[in-house]
């Protein structure tokens, strides 16, 4: 007996009773080729029938997901460029040497900021300001903070490393230098780049201070008063 007309198979699979002639049924029972095709159509129809409205038109992920992807792919490129252009150690030497010469610090900061921002080709790809994070006291640790501008929005990227193990966690804050105004941004983990969208209304021109605190799991949302790293964002 000839194979089932291939054009008929999707319709047969859609509805088993759909005018299936006896000879078609007999053939399907005997022919592995036609049966496999028929079953594949059955499977895909079943999958299609399971689909709900949100499967057909999935809602987009929250905006911050793309911002995080963009920031992460950008950080990677900048890190590669920075490794060739300005080794990290050189920057700390510069900072150390400049501790008593403010002008040199500002100059180095501006140069590094310019280098970091230089690959920016579009407004969506702009490092608006950056800072190295230096240990407070003698606890050790290091890190970087970057303010990324995406159109009218800002995202703070914080990358901390070599912090001591803790029973609690580390938290990033932004603050207005010279004041006690602090804004909690969220938890950071050593070795990972954390990203925090800036609350709208928080003017990054004033909120330049970056603070990393050691926090306990005590349910207190306030700053623990134990700062481990600090820095100040510069253009």
């Amino acid at each position: 007996m000839p194979h089932v007309d291939p054009d008929r198979l999707p319709l047969l699979a859609l509805d088993e009773d759909f005018a299936a002639a006896d000879d078609e049924r007999v053939h399907l029972a005997e022919c592995p080729t036609c049966l496999a095709d028929y079953r594949a159509f059955k499977d895909v129809i079943e999958l299609g029938k399971e689909a709900g409205p949100d499967d057909l038109q999935p809602p987009p992920p929250p905006l911050r997901v793309w911002q995080a992807i963009e920031a992460e792919t950008r950080v990677e490129r900048r890190t590669a460029e920075r490794r060739t252009a300005a080794p990290r150690r050189l920057r700390y030497l510069l900072l150390a040497a400049a501790a008593c010469v403010l002008g040199v610090v500002l100059g180095a900061g501006a140069t590094l900021g310019w280098q970091a921002a230089r690959p920016a080709k579009t407004p969506a790809d702009t490092v608006a300001a950056s800072s190295a994070l230096e240990p407070v006291g003698n606890g050790g640790g290091t890190g970087d903070a970057r303010l990324i501008r995406d159109g009218e929005r800002y995202v703070l990227e914080v990358d901390v490393r070599d912090l001591p193990l803790t029973n609690g966690f580390y938290e990033a804050w932004m603050f207005v230098p010279g004041t006690t105004r602090m804004q909690a941004m969220g938890a950071v983990r050593p070795g990972e780049v954390a990203r925090f969208p800036l609350p709208s209304g928080l003017d990054p021109a004033g909120w330049r201070g970056i603070d990393i605190s050691a926090e306990a799991f005590d349910g207190d949302p306030g700053h623990s008063a134990t700062s481990v790293l600090r820095g100040e964002l510069r253009r």
Partner: protein, 216 residues
């Protein structure tokens, strides 16, 4: 070390707003395979706009996969982020001769998902040991099934409108061919042809993506 500058941190001074992705993925009966090929070429060339276009096209699907298969919305966000970052980093490993970009990307999402599910299982086992809790109920349906359903749904949403309407009436409203013809005013032969082609298209797309996802 108080800086004297008081101006804002905006160093660019250029107009705001990211550039729109150049690629528009059309809803052609051929699933925009030409557009996908152009997108793949742009992606391989390291053009970041291609990553954005891929995110526009498949980000919702990956996020939906995470929402369906993982416990929390933040897990789904994490899955989406990790998938597209891994795709960008691994773009050199995409070989257009071996399958569609969609399948390659979805293969990455699948591996990321499986890694996360394994980690959750480990945590659950650990919690059982520590807290002597009952094991978590296995997720139904499994991640493969969810992914297959999303891939088929994605293609269904991209059928040409008339074909899509006919297929949806058959799938979701369980209408007979004659009822669909009566409702839409289309000749019965056209209804059958839409159903046949629509279902064939779903199967073809599912198999292409599925095979590429398995291989990648």
């Amino acid at each position: 070390m108080t800086p004297s500058e008081t101006s804002g941190p905006d160093a660019s001074g250029s107009p705001s707003g990211p550039p729109a992705p150049r690629l528009a993925l059309t809803h052609s009966d051929r699933t925009g395979s030409d557009d996908e090929a152009a997108l793949a070429a742009q992606f391989l060339a390291g053009d970041e706009r291609a990553l954005r276009a891929m995110y526009e096209r498949w980000g919702g699907l990956v996020y939906r996969l995470g929402r369906q298969a993982l416990p929390s919305p933040s897990d789904a966000e994490d899955l989406t982020q990790a998938t597209f970052v891994a795709a960008w980093r691994g773009r050199d490993t995409f070989d257009p001769d071996r399958g569609r970009l969609a399948g390659w990307l979805i293969g990455i999402a699948k591996r990321q998902l499986i890694d996360r599910l394994r980690a959750l299982q480990r945590d659950a086992r650990l919690a059982q040991v520590v807290e002597a809790t009952e094991p978590a109920a296995p997720t139904h349906p499994g991640p493969e099934r969810i992914l297959d359903r999303l891939v088929v749904a994605d293609q269904l949403a991209r059928l040409v409108p008339e074909q899509r309407r006919v297929v949806q009436l058959a799938f979701f409203d369980d209408l007979t061919h004659t009822q669909i013809a009566g409702l839409t005013g289309l000749p019965l032969g056209t209804v059958k042809s839409h159903l046949r082609r629509g279902i064939e298209r779903l199967r073809q797309s599912w198999e292409e993506v599925d095979h590429a996802a398995r291989r990648s």
